[in-house]
């Protein structure tokens, strides 16, 4: 698991890459905390296009990112989840708290 980031106009984009499970979640959380603290971003996007696997450990991580961003007066949303990650997020009902951007454009 690896996280790359980009910051532009108050929006922090975190590119999650690899497999997000319990084994990688703690390191991932530390990285996200640091990025959020440094940037003080009002908007935070979790870009999942490079994420090849996610289980319920990812749900806990998304909720934590939501809490941290909300504490800075901002919001988080998800972009480009794989079908597998989307199924995990739908089953856990997390879209009620953290929105998942609908894919736009064509295949």
């Amino acid at each position: 698991m690896n996280i790359a980031s980009a910051y532009e106009n108050g929006k922090l984009t975190l590119y999650l890459q690899g497999e997000l499970d319990h084994h990688s979640a703690r390191t991932a959380m530390r990285a996200i905390e640091q990025e959020l603290e440094q940037s003080l971003a009002r908007e935070c996007v979790l870009d999942m296009s490079g994420l090849s696997f996610m289980d319920s450990s990812g749900i806990a991580l998304i909720l934590k990112a939501h809490k941290l961003t909300a504490a800075q007066g901002g919001k988080v949303w998800i972009e480009h989840p794989s079908r597998q990650a989307l199924r995990v997020m739908e089953t856990s009902g997390i879209e009620r708290i953290v929105p998942i951007a609908q894919e736009t454009g064509k295949e």
């Binding site: 497999e19 319990h22 289980d55 319920s56 749900i59 079908r83 597998q84």
Partner: protein
């Protein structure tokens, strides 16, 4: 019961083995020619059960986890994950969505995911003795399309 094939694995409860366990079961399941979605569901369900054994069964020590996967009649993949850890005092409560004893790092959604990603989930546990989670998922026959 007719078992056409099986694997048995044993490994220590180290978190680095989570990825290995789900990949091993996915590689074994490949002979049933599952769809990407079926394979994703299997990987996810295995990851949840193995993570529970690592996090909850053996919270302050390294114990042993036994994983068995077999192919039963009717293209059913059955997966059993067993630990000799601390056990679950109230299984019904533990299986409730959002219930967790793991704090902020856990979501309490593991059993809910195992339940909805498989056709059958059975949990047997005894405090102080350990937990056995058995999951079954039927892999559909795909239209060959050729």
């Amino acid at each position: 019961m007719n078992v056409s094939n099986y694997i048995k694995l044993e490994f220590p409860s180290k978190s680095v083995n989570e990825g290995y366990a789900r990949s091993a079961v996915a590689a074994f399941a490949a002979q049933l020619d599952p769809t990407m979605e079926e394979l994703g569901d299997i990987r996810t369900a295995v990851s949840e059960a193995v993570t529970n054994a690592i996090v909850h069964a053996y919270p302050d020590s390294i114990g042993t986890i036994w994983l068995k996967a077999r192919i039963l009649e009717g293209r059913v993949l059955e997966i059993t994950i067993r630990d000799k850890g601390q056990g679950i005092p109230d299984i019904k409560q533990a299986m409730q969505p959002l219930y967790t004893t793991g704090g902020e790092e856990r979501s309490g959604m593991g059993f809910t995911i195992m339940e909805s990603f498989t056709d059958k989930l059975r949990v047997r546990s005894a405090p102080g003795k350990g937990t056995t989670v058995t999951m079954a998922r039927r892999i559909r026959v795909r239209n060959a399309g050729r």
